[in-house]
Amino acid sequence: MALEARDAPLHWGRHVSFSHYARTYAEFIKVNAAKALGFRANFILMFLLDIVFYATNIWTYELVMQNLGTNLPWTKEQFMLYVAFIMLVDWIHTFFVGSAFWQFTGMVRQGQLDYVLLRPLHPLFTCFLSFVRFDCILNIIPATAIIIYYGSKAHLTWEQWALLPLFSILSSLFIALIDSTITTMIMWTQEGIGIHFIRFQMNHFARWPDFMYRGLPRKIFTYIVPACLYFTPYLRFLFDYNDWYLLALSFGLCGVWLAGLFKLWSLSVRQYESASS
């Protein structure tokens, strides 16, 4: 008698409490910290790397800004604050989830994902939150210094200063959600180069405010593939509290993409062929 095909009886973390997830995340942090402290030179190299990254970025924007006209919605100081905001969000994203997207390719191709799927936690939690980059912890210093510098030049009020940390966390959460959804497609393509290319290009697209783009590209990257919502909505609201539309749109799309991520994940697991079998 042939066996009927059915979905694998995976846990999906349905009966696990929030405190269990929190304790597990604390363990992830401890393990990653211990691993990072084994290679102390990496802290220095990562610091140097980020200093070069920040310097080249700032200089690039300064070069382009010299040639931009004066009929843009933002002043030069507001523009550079946008750049500083991007760098701070970049740090948060890299520290908490950045490494996970690279590790995911190996997990899929080498069969390590099998062990993750069998655990009594939702696999999305393990795949995308278990790699914390402790070796870039020192880089919070230059990232914070840059945003304080450009925030002072833009003459932010105390309310705007208070909103900045919250907005940087929300922005990095949004980006992590989009990146997780895109990275999940590696379970279909098996190879990650093309998928990571898409992630990078969306990030490059987002490195300029949405008003730098026009017509169809702006519409597509606002409503369908929301790269324009990575950073722009937060700064637009910060500079003008009446400009809340994009911020509300990004919150709404968060819910849509979260539902999409869970659905895509369950479809991907169904068609996933383990390398270890």
Partner: protein, 269 residues
Amino acid sequence: MPGLNSNLAKWWATIKVAMVNLTTYRMNFVLQILGPAFFFYFIKYNLWRTVYEGHGGGSLSGYTFQGMMDYHAWILVSGMLYKGSSSNNLSEDIRMGRISTYLIYPFNFWEFHTSSFLAFELVQIFICSITLVFLVFFGLISTPSIPGLMLGLGFSFLGGLLWYLFQYAAGLLAFWLEETWMIRVLFELIAQFMSGGVVPLEMYPAWLKSSLHLTPFPYLTYYPAKAFMLQIEDPLRALGIVAFWIVALFGLNQWLWRRGMRLYTGAGM
């Protein structure tokens, strides 16, 4: 010359295997073909259109809007021809002790990785051709001339070789370092900025521009892009400088290999 024929046969066999590896994952391959042109339109074209409109048209540092698009399109093409080459596998081979096999094969470590580089170039030439057809067909760039294509391909190959030698040197540092990817990323960041990959070098301050032309970085993308556009003022001087850096990096790699082999124990680093 049976010895030379058999050596060339080994090179060709390795190149074929590497090309098959590079094209194994079809979806990934399709994304590599379509993605760059697609994002060129969405990002570079739109961004620079806004910059030029804000500037009231005209030219920026000697570039009209069409000239800037041509420049960035050729930067995209020359970037595709050099950038994919990475020493990931090389440094892992050293750290995991896998280079022991290359020490006894009749095809050494350098020959193997250089064959992979040549295979990569061949595949990328195919991908770049499709990207170029797309960009010309949709009127995003001016139609290139045959002499420009030939000169540009030549400079792009030299730029690719230069980058491969950089990456090879970074990979050889695995004899001494646990992690080499940070060195590679650092190179890439510096190269991206100093090679004119972000904005043309004409937009840089004069003091930086003149000294950059003596470094290897502009020969990765700026000079190949200018070669495609037939805008290099002194091609022989450019060739001389890039040849100097290629020879210098090759010598450095040979020295690093000899020093590294003294430390190598065959059990992984």
